[in-house]
Amino acid sequence: MSTSTLDRDLAPAPAPASLLNDFSIQVATVNGSGSQSSNLVLLHTLFQMGIPISGKNLFPSNIAGLPTWYTIRASRRGYIGRKKEIDFLIALNPDTCRDDVQGLEAGASVIYDEPLKLSALRSDLTYYPVPFDKLVAPVCPVAKLRKLVRNMIYVGVAAHLTCMEMPEVERALRRQFKTKPKAADLNWAAIQAGYSFAREQFPQPDRCQLQRMDGTRGQIVIEGNAAGALGCLFAGVTVVGWYPITPSSSLCEYLIEYLKRYRRTPGGEATFACVQAEDELAACGMVLGAGWMGARAVTSTSGPGISLMSEFVGLGYYAEIPAVIFDIQRVGPSTGLPTRTAQGDLSFVATLSHGDTRHLVLLPGTVQECFDCGVAAFDLAERFQTPVFVLSDLDLGMNHWMSPPFTYPEKPMDRGKVLTAEDLRRLKGDWGRYRDVDGDGIGYRTLPGTDHPAAAFFTRGSGHNADAKYSEKGADYIANMDRLRRKWEGAREHLPAPLLEHDSSSGVGVIAYGSTHHGMVEALDQMREETDLDCAYLRVRAWPFARSVAEFVRRCQRVYVVDQNRDGQMYHLLLADLGPELGARLRSVRQYSGLPVDARSLSDAIRAQEAAARPLK
């Protein structure tokens, strides 16, 4: 289909420099109205124009009928965290449109459905009324399809107003409807209708303008859950047990898709087993059963599921069984805000289950790291013979992120310390499952089916001695628990290392982790550019902490620890690890509205505390 009639022939009025390729578009619709396709077309158009983007979906815990907001951010400087202010609103939800409009900063622009009559609300905004129903009727004669293509109208209107390149819009659309050319044609007609209408009615482009740049070359766009699933695929996962829960479900759903596609033998047999379990207890049990057998097994869940898994996780820890558990965090406690994001499970997961337990917790901050942690978690679980958690969150897991392409794992798989029948013959059968032969706290295991009379041992969550025999002796218990602690301590330098994202000699530092990273990067620039406060930034990527975390704190006078939870969970883990003297340098910064952390709130919060600590220049 030709786009010649719609090629941009209007010279855009020069945008205020501050908004060129630097604004956010929010689409406010009703859940279930199918606006996601339109939003992804917008997102990909910008991306194809070389403009750095991020896309965030704020949706209700409901299938249809409740308000949902999708925010696309264009950032010429490459910021992909949430931006607090909305510059361009597309208001289509009759229930929320008034609040949506009232919440805008002066000067913002609003496309709205004409019958909503929003222009009377405020006089300091730019309005673009659009008669959606009138426009969609001629392009979509079949009435029952109109609801589906209606939302494409705003793509056309926004494309004109913000000067999107129409060939890129069409390319993004056809990519979206790859397998449905007919639907693509219909939707393209709707976009064109919106575009023509806008060109006639609003000849002047908006102050939010886009212009091709070179900021996305070679990059991909992906959700963290898809990235995590790919990590599992390339880690060679063979057993998956899961139970649906937002925001985790899509990880296993992506994984199942990938496995079906890429992990069948030439004869069509599956080299994997995926089971949708009856609950998260069972999902976790399946993973432990498979891990005990020697398979690489994974489950993915969110807070409520983690709570249910806690008994099994203690078994995995104490009986020393490899397992990989993704926790895509959402807002708790209890059902909480199931479709909002948080980092509220950190301290619970770190020592999940009763008794003295300590787990290995990986903290990916980017989609690339969701992939890398996915791969690494299996090596670590088998090396350390223990459950390994990958703590992602709804923001990272379910939203669209720009990223460099992932790199293929170079290291061969590390299957850990496993004795074969051959090894046992060499040892003349003299071995014990929990003996600390190498002094690293990690014993050798045998796998069920090993053909040697001395291979078998008994796995149990009750007290046992170094030879895996039942024991209630205090000395055996202490020896075992102390060895487990040694093993955990030994993992510190083997987990993803902390990254010094930015260095500074100002004496002020920040520590952040997970998806908060993206707001942090931008907040650092804001503080430096606006008030000359140059903070060093260490991003922590795992617990237990590597020793470089203490070194970082030692170099600073004050370190702000950023958490997305009420109680400063990372702050407390750091405090416990650093001890009172170094720990006294820590300050806690907490954001927990359920929305992804934005840079402005972070820089404001840190600056406020800094101002109290010492006068700013």
Partner: protein, 351 residues
């Protein structure tokens, strides 16, 4: 005439079995359960059945939940891997284990508390998937390990040692298993050596979920007057549905049977389960009939034993999932890590 034991009486008891192992290789650690506990007798029958069937101990895994019954796997097949997991959750451990290595044979031991209360959800879903696993409930009507509280299989009106009367109806785990999709469902009694051994051997020859509820008196907490799970009560009220016998595939001795009175079922491995009709006509391929006889037995206060349901045609869970023949756990990196080109392809689709 149908045979009643798997090895003809004329053969002297061999010192080693058909794979050359002595019976002692099938024993486990010395039991720590109470003397006379039904669970010990069941362990003995498992040892007999595995020895006689020539089970390779290193190709066999034992799993359990928590309870006196769940301790039992320590006391048999010491050369096999064992996993004593958490209360009521052995089915999920077994599911992961069996899927990870389909070539091993798995046996799970549970208790009536472990199965019918805390573990009921996993129990039903295990049956539903028809996972290849022998699932034994060592059923004493009480929580032995926590000192004698009623379990959900305690009969209505049964008396606790303290004198408390059970006011709630019993759950029938066999009926539940039939309804949920298990493909081999039986009930036996720890004191019925002949029947239990025959059923266990048939279980070893079956592929799919075998659910055997074995009434197993707790001599310490539930063997008194007024209990319906005591030795005395069961001996007085046991009613066998059939006379069960088993002819293993490796025994080429043809034993005659009367097709008019005896049902012969060919098992997956070619062996034969023979069910000689006793009081009533009964078709073990008919689940509805199984539910009917179980309901009737409850009403009459009988302890009905025998093979209630058997389906040798339904695919097991491993087959349903279309798994490769080799254990998933042992697939090499070259098979489980897709090549670089796959990552390139996926990345290209996201550009």
């Amino acid at each position: 005439m149908p045979t009643t034991t798997s090895t003809p009486a004329s053969t002297p008891s061999p010192k080693v079995n058909r794979i050359g192992l002595p019976a002692t290789d099938y024993r486990g650690a010395k039991t720590t359960l109470c003397a006379g506990c039904g669970h010990n007798a069941i362990s003995e029958r498992i040892i007999d059945a595995c020895f006689e069937m020539g089970i390779d101990p290193h190709r066999f895994v034992k799993l359990s939940g928590i309870g006196c019954s769940s301790k039992a796997p320590t006391y048999f097949l010491g050369r096999s891997f064992g996993f004593n997991s958490v209360h009521g959750r052995m089915p999920s451990i077994a599911t992961g284990a069996v899927l990870a290595n389909r070539t091993l044979q798995a046996l799970g031991v549970s208790g009536d508390g472990d199965t019918a209360s805390i573990g009921l959800g996993q129990f039903i879903h295990l049956m539903r998937r028809n996972l290849p696993l022998i699932y034994i409930i060592e059923d004493n009507g009480v929580y032995g390990l926590t000192k004698g509280q009623f379990s959900a299989t305690a009969d209505l009106g049964a008396k606790q040692k303290s004198g408390v009367i059970n006011e709630l109806p019993a759950l029938d785990t066999c009926a539940l298993a039939v309804l949920s999709g298990a493909t081999f469902v039986a009930r036996s009694f720890s004191g019925d050596k002949k029947q239990l051994t025959a059923i266990l051997k048939a279980a070893l020859a079956h592929r799919g979920t075998v659910m055997i509820d074995v009434i197993s008196p707790c001599v310490t907490f539930n063997d008194h007057e007024g209990s319906t799970k005591s030795y005395k009560y069961v001996l007085e009220h046991e009613e066998a549905l059939q006379e069960v016998s088993f002819v293993p595939a490796f025994d080429d001795i043809a034993v005659d049977y009367d097709p008019g009175t005896t049902l012969d079922v060919t098992m997956h491995d070619g062996s034969h389960l023979r069910l000689r009709k006793l009081a009533q006509d009964f078709d073990p391929s008919n689940g509805q009939q199984a539910l009917d006889v179980l309901t009737a037995a409850h009403q009459s206060g009988e302890v009905l034993t025998g093979v209630f349901y058997l389906d040798t045609t339904k695919p097991d869970f491993v087959q349903q999932l279309g798994l490769v023949g080799e254990p998933l756990a042992h697939l090499p990196e070259a098979v489980v890590r897709p090549p670089r080109a796959v990552l390139d392809e996926v990345m290209a689709s996201l550009l």
